[in-house]
């Protein structure tokens, strides 16, 4: 797999157990920082209706959609039940020199 690493933001710009929105080349992503201080990335829009997940709530390793509370595991992208049934795509993330990168 030939990932291109794209710079997202400084690692401390995302709070612990939180998410930010990241737009790049006409696409939108959600970038997460877990309570264990690991970083993760998924597609930015909910698979139920096209809603930005970055407005949602991160609890542990779950992102909850702000619109109808659909839940995904942001580490694996797995949809955790109604109303969402289609998984989220995930992307590799690395942190180097205090900067977060997403692999596209």
């Amino acid at each position: 797999m030939s990932d291109t690493w794209i710079e997202v933001c400084a690692a401390d710009e995302i709070d612990e157990e939180d998410v930010i929105r990241f737009d790049h080349a006409g696409r939108t992503f959600a970038i997460y920082r877990s309570p264990e201080d690991t970083y993760h990335a998924t597609d930015g829009l909910c698979t139920h209706e096209k809603i930005h997940l970055a407005d949602g709530l991160v609890m542990d390793h779950i992102i909850e959609c702000p619109k109808h509370n659909g839940r995904f595991d942001y580490k694996t992208g797995e949809a955790k039940g109604a109303p969402v049934c289609v998984d989220l795509r995930t992307y590799p993330v690395k942190v180097e020199g205090g900067t977060v990168f997403i692999g596209l």
């Binding site: 949602g56 709530l57 702000p66 619109k67 109303p83 049934c85």
Partner: protein, 407 residues
């Protein structure tokens, strides 16, 4: 092998059917619904799907029912429950045996006394209703909407977006008087006015007459509203007749206990058709008409049909979309002794409702897009945990509500 039958193929019935399989049930599941479509989501009917003229947004496609081994009988109505014989009788004359029965019959629009829908008078509950209404929502047409509840207001916003002009008539002094704080209802009403909707509050209808090409409403103050279509949005009544005829207890909905059991232990009921005790509010009996409630109760009913013994202990939650604004409400605000406001910027704000002891019992918020969603969700968790949060912390937008939850 056990036979489980679900009457009512809406949000609740469909979720219950899938949940039974997810929980490992290996008997037969038959989901029976009067409508000819597979189960679909109703909220889009007054919102984006109405504007787009989209087809029904299915809860699941036919393949998923087939894969899960769920038999869906569409366009079939259950006429009778034979409790002694443990069978339901359908309108095609067939009878189906059941070991456990779930009633998820939903609700239907309340109608004006002596006035059926048809011609230029409509109500909005089903996809077919939406299709009929949409045919009238064209540039330059005029729709009259009776009732300033959620469905009437969402429909007004969608009609406006499609270029129709709208008169909305509400009998009470303000819109959304049930369950929505006046401060938020006022914002919604003024937005409608700014978009050109004529909102007439405190207006009583004296007469309705259909004439060639129009429907005419005469108001008690003598004003006449002529429209190409009248949509009646004055609430919903639960579909309880089937249960009542079978001798089950009914009290503003099919009366169930905390486990969603009716007065017959082999018959459960869930969703818009039921009333049940809410533990968080002193076991007050309520009937909720909300999408998430239909889902949660469908899932809970499935667990309890399998003998799970799980009690319903959720926080009521509801949302509404109008123009680019979203309103969300968690909990039940009546009985609140104090209200605390939290401003989030760009006009978005939340109201927290506390009881006399300072316990958080509800939160309502409105803003553009999903501006209030995260805080409402956290408020919901505080409500569920029966917390007494510090009002000053609630009011301060820089205090993260998550920290209050951890406290």
């Amino acid at each position: 092998m056990a036979d489980f039958v679900i009457v009512g193929a809406g949000e609740c019935g469909a979720r219950a059917a899938f949940a039974l399989r997810e929980k490992g049930f290996d008997g037969t599941i038959t989901l029976i619904g009067s409508e000819t479509h597979l189960p679909y989501e109703r909220p889009p009917l007054s919102k984006e799907a109405l504007v787009a003229g989209a087809g029904p947004k299915l809860v699941a496609d036919a393949e998923r029912y087939a894969a899960a081994g769920i038999a869906v009988l569409s366009g079939r109505t259950v006429l009778e429950i034979d409790r002694a014989g443990r069978r339901v009788r359908l309108d095609d004359g067939t009878a189906l045996p059941y070991d456990k029965l779930l009633l998820a019959t939903g609700a239907r629009p309340r109608t004006l006394p002596g006035m059926a829908c048809g011609g230029r008078i409509a109500a909005l509950r089903s996809h077919d209703d939406a299709t009929r209404i949409r045919a009238h929502l064209v540039e330059g047409s005029h729709v009259a909407i009776l009732g300033g509840g959620f469905i009437g207001l969402e429909l007004a916003a969608s009609a406006c977006t499609l270029g129709a002009s709208v008169t909305l008539i509400e009998g009470l002094p303000r819109v959304l008087s049930r369950g929505v704080p006046a401060e938020i209802a006022a914002i919604i009403a003024s937005r409608h006015a700014a978009e050109g909707v004529e909102v007439l509050c405190g207006a009583k209808v004296a007469g309705i007459a259909e004439r060639p090409g129009e429907v005419r409403l005469t108001l008690e103050d003598g004003r006449i509203v002529a429209a190409s279509l009248l949509v009646v949005g004055i609430g919903a009544v639960p579909n309880t007749e089937l249960a009542e005829a079978a001798g089950l207890a009914v009290d503003n909905g099919i009366a169930v206990d905390g486990l969603l059991c009716t007065s017959d232990p082999d018959i459960l009921a869930a969703g818009d058709c039921t009333s049940y005790p809410l533990p968080l509010y002193g076991d007050r009996r309520v009937r909720l008409e909300s999408w998430r409630n239909a889902q949660e109760q469908g899932q809970l009913a499935a667990a309890n049909m399998l003998g799970g013994g799980e009690a319903h202990c959720a926080v009521p939650w509801f949302w509404s979309d109008q123009y680019d604004m979203t309103l969300q409400i968690a909990g039940l605000a009546d009985g609140a002794a104090a209200t605390v406001r939290r401003d989030l910027g760009e006009g978005a704000f939340l109201l927290f409702h506390l009881d006399a002891e300072g316990r958080l019992i509800a939160a309502s918020g409105i803003g553009k897009g999903n501006a209030v969603a995260r805080d409402i969700r956290l408020a919901e968790m505080l409500i569920a945990a029966r917390r007494h949060p510090d009002p000053a912390a609630l009011a301060a937008p820089e205090t993260r509500l998550k920290t209050l939850l951890a406290a």
